[in-house]
C-alpha cells in the first residue's frame, strides 16, 4: 500500500488482491480464481460504496492451446451480459502471463445502478479456448480500492 499511496493517482486508495473464486462467482474467499465452464467468473467484487483500479492481472493455465481472456464487468441489462473493459488477452499454455497497470487502460470499476444501461462494477473474466468457454485457467489480480 505504501507504494500505491505515494503515487498521486492512488492517494487515498488501498491495495487488495482478488476477493472471489471462479465458479461463476461463488464466494470462496480471497485467492486464485479458477475459471469455470460457465464463464463470467467473478474475480473482484467491489464493496458497497467503493470503486477500484486494476494494478495487476496474472494468469496461468496448462490447457492444450492458447486461451483468450476477456475481462470486464457485468451489465445490469443482462443483454449483453458483459461490458468488456480491456482488449482480449492471450494466455499461452504453461506460461505465466500478466499485465501491470502501465499496460492496462486506466479503467475505474464502479457501480452504475441504472437497471437498463448500468453495470455492477465487479471484475469478471471469461476464458475461451477455440471458441469454447474454458475452465481451469487461474487468474490473480491486484487492485487499488478507493474508499
Amino acid at each position: 500500500m505504501s507504494y500505491l499511496i505515494t503515487q498521486g493517482r492512488y492517494a487515498g486508495m488501498m491495495a487488495k488482491s482478488n476477493n472471489r473464486s471462479g465458479a461463476a462467482g461463488v464466494a470462496d474467499g480471497p485467492g486464485i480464481v479458477t475459471t469455470s465452464a460457465v464463464g463470467a467468473d467473478l474475480v473482484h467484487q467491489i464493496p458497497v460504496g467503493r470503486s477500484f483500479y486494476i494494478t495487476k492481472i496474472m494468469w496461468y493455465h496448462a490447457l492444450a492451446g492458447n486461451v483468450l481472456l476477456t475481462f470486464g464487468t457485468l451489465s445490469n441489462a443482462l443483454v449483453p451480459a458483459m461490458v468488456q473493459m480491456f482488449p482480449v488477452q492471450v494466455a499461452l499454455p504453461n506460461v505465466v502471463g500478466g499485465r501491470v497497470e502501465e499496460e492496462l487502460e486506466g479503467v475505474e470499476f464502479m457501480l452504475n445502478s441504472n437497471l437498463l444501461v448500468g453495470w455492477n462494477g465487479n471484475l469478471i473474466v471469461t476464458a475461451t479456448l477455440a471458441g469454447v468457454i474454458s475452465a481451469a485457467v487461474q487468474i490473480g489480480c491486484e487492485v487499488a480500492e478507493k474508499l
Binding site: 499511496i5 492517494a11 487515498g12 486508495m13 488501498m14 487488495k16 476477493n19 472471489r20 464466494a27 474467499g29 480471497p30 467484487q45 467491489i46 464493496p47 458497497v48 460504496g49 467503493r50 474508499l147
Partner: protein, 218 residues
C-alpha cells in the same frame, strides 16, 4: 513529545496535561476535576492490539457483517486511571466506538461515524480517532463492521496513546464563611454545584487553570 497538546490536536499524539496539571473531565454528565499525578506513554505494540474475531470466539466476520459491540479488556482501567488513545483497524474493517452505557461515540443526531483503513490516509496521525477511557466499570465498547462482500478472518484494531494517573481534587472552601466567621454551607454547596456544572469562573477561582476534557459524550 515534550509539548502539551490540545486534546484533539491534529499532529502526533501528545500529552494533554503534564504531571501536577489539572484536568476537568466530563463524565456521567458532570464535570469532575483531577490533578495528574502520573503520565506515561502507551506505545503502539502487540499487547495493545485486539482482534475482535478472536475476542468474539468466532472464525470470521461475515461478508458485510458485524461483530457486535463488546468490551475490550486491554482498555479496562481502574479508578484513578485514564487512557488517552488513538486507534486504527489493521484489517479492512470499520471500527464503531460505543461508550459504556451504549451511547455511540463520534455520533450526532442522525449518524454514527466509524474509523476505517482510509481514515489514516486522510488524517495521518489518526487525531480524529482520539478517545479517552477513564475509571473502573466505565469501559468503552468496540464494534467491527465488514464492508467487504467476503468474510474476513481477522478484525484487528491497534491502539496507542498515553496513560494518566489522576487524583480527584477537593477544592479548599475553608475561606467560604459567613459574616460571623462560620462555614457558609449554602454557599459551599452552591460552589460545589457550580464546579460540577463546569462553570468557568467558579472553576477558575477554586480549581485554577485546567484542561477541559469530554471523556464521555452527551
Amino acid at each position: 513529545m515534550s509539548e502539551v497538546a490540545n486534546i484533539y490536536d491534529n499532529g502526533p499524539i501528545s500529552l494533554i496535561a503534564r504531571i501536577k496539571d489539572t484536568i476537568s473531565v466530563l463524565t456521567a454528565k458532570k464535570w469532575a476535576h483531577y490533578q495528574v499525578n502520573y503520565a506515561e506513554p502507551w506505545p503502539r505494540s502487540s499487547p495493545l492490539m485486539v482482534d475482535l474475531v478472536a475476542a468474539a470466539g468466532v472464525t470470521t466476520i461475515v461478508a458485510n457483517g458485524t461483530i457486535a459491540k463488546r468490551l475490550v479488556p486491554i482498555l479496562q482501567v481502574t479508578d484513578g486511571e485514564m487512557l488517552h488513545l488513538r486507534f486504527l483497524p489493521l484489517d479492512d474493517v470499520e471500527g464503531v466506538v460505543w461508550e459504556q452505557s451504549g451511547t455511540g461515540k463520534f455520533n450526532s443526531r442522525n449518524t454514527h461515524a466509524r474509523v476505517n483503513m482510509a481514515t489514516g490516509l486522510h488524517d495521518p496521525y489518526l487525531a480524529t480517532t482520539t478517545v479517552f477511557v477513564m475509571g473502573y466499570q466505565r469501559d468503552m465498547n468496540l464494534e467491527a463492521r465488514n464492508p467487504n462482500p467476503v468474510a474476513l478472518n481477522q478484525a484487528r484494531f491497534q491502539f496507542w496513546g498515553f496513560r494518566y494517573g489522576l487524583d480527584e481534587i477537593s477544592p479548599d472552601l475553608s475561606s467560604v464563611v459567613t459574616q460571623g466567621g462560620q462555614p457558609d454551607k449554602k454557599k459551599q454547596e452552591d460552589i460545589i454545584r457550580q464546579l460540577a456544572a463546569g462553570d468557568k469562573a467558579t472553576v477558575a477561582q477554586y480549581i485554577g487553570p485546567t484542561t477541559w476534557l469530554p471523556a464521555e459524550g452527551r
